[in-house]
Amino acid sequence: MASITREEVAHLARLARLAVTDEELQTFAGQLDVIIGAVARVGEVAAGDIPPTTHAVPVTNVLRPDELRPSLARDEVLAAAPAAEDGRFRVPRILDDPE
């Protein structure tokens, strides 16, 4: 039995904001099924009371002095943006069409 279906892959792609094609869905569903089958092997390890590792070399509460420093130059940042207007990022439409 497949561990992941085409419909699930389509749902995950939507969550990840990827407008995948039907052809990709087909390919990815097959490949992800194999990959998930392989990575599921982590379940063989008896690790019930083992603490998880998020960072192998843990450092905590790292603070730096609260001092004034120059930020990136606004014009240089905006020059690298896909669209800018009036010294700001211009975003695609975020409100529903009023019509």
Partner: protein, 498 residues
Amino acid sequence: MTELTRMDAAALAAEIAGGRASAVEVTQAHLDRITAVDEKIHAFLHVDAEGALAAARAVDDRRSSGQELGPLAGVPLAMKDVVVTRGLPSTSGSKILEGWIPPYDATITQRVRAAGVVMLGKTNMDEFAMGSSTENSAYGPTHNPWDLDRVPGGSSGGSSGAVSAYEAPLGIGTDTGGSIRQPAAVTGLVGHKPTYGGVSRYGLIAFSSSLDQAGPLTRTVLDAALLHEVIGGHDPADSTSIDAPVPAVVAAALDGARADLSGLRVGVVRELSGEGYEAGVLDRFAETVGLLTDLGATITEVSCPHFGYALPAYYLIAPSECSSNLARFDAVRYGLRVGDDGRRGLEEVMSLTREAGFGAEVKRRVILGTYALSSGYYDAYYGQAQKVRTLISRDFGAAFETCDVLVSPTTPTVAFPLGARVDDPMAMYAADLCTLPASLAGTPAISVPCGLSEGLPVGLQVMAPALADDRCYRVAAAVEAAVAGRDGQPILAAAPSL
């Protein structure tokens, strides 16, 4: 005099400091080499001849005005495109960042520039460093100078290609699951993954933040150590950077070159051999373990029972972190934007942009990571993988109670043919089998050439405890010296000329 492009970085720095060659001459020689051979190799995505020559002139000016030069001043370097460089394209091998000019330098870029190291340009890589062959680059593959029909490893395959083809004596790579060590092994180079936190990640385009680490790719162990000392050390701009002195890796490399490892306890990891490993690789590995004995080391076999689970754990943790990190590519602040016609909303534009801008492997991993982090699957996949990660660290801890270093082959096979694994993700992932445990544990590991199998280079991996990077360099330098003594020349000298 030896041709400038054939000299290693330490020798070039000495030529420049001694006034026998100018930094401009050295830089021009490497730019000419790129012009001559990079059509075949495709190591570079962007060559910055003007910037390189200007940086070289600045070094020459400093020298002629009597100022002291750093140990690598004037020596050319190939920078992986995942590292941001102010004023120079930084695509991370992706279409989604095509044409983006970063407004700032990564910390390692700043340090390289401050050291007078001459950045020749940006090198090819698997998109967002996801891959083991550089075939996942949106800009076409890089070719292995040993055999142009084979991969140069990945994801730092542009840097390994450039350094092994004598286009640059120094290369920067990044290693998340093996992306410095594996390319080094299959192109006959030295590659070191520092202790996690040893080199700043500020300005590295993030793939998997708990694993990513930048390091050197060079033709000699000493050159790697010299570059490590330039880029390493604490950085307040990276909160995961370790606030401790850089291990004395240059001194360790010089010490190792005396080829005396008396009293060193070396552990051979039982789990990093066997099925899936080529006979030629295992033979070269066994011979090199014999060499270590000749050098005075004592060898024991150790078992690290959870290393066999490093691959599944890694391919849950890294995709999970990448699915989160790559959310920054939202078509708003930098890079590509597709379908913004005034009618489509933000979410649709974002989805169309990411669909157009990401390649297949990146999409696969983003989807896989989204799955592993989903409610209902989180505990069984991502959570369980993090526990396995703890057990792998404990295996290392136990082994280092009786051993100073651990050794294994760096890769299970020699360089594989272009195209051989692109449609089979699991086969591609297997290239990282030996390098993943040190990635997950955050411990340092180096790959050093140890012989040839079927005419292609084989690497030895030396692993050490966290912050003991110097042990990796010492052992690697001893192996380098012993192998050169045995063969009468370094491994890379056997590569065909282009």
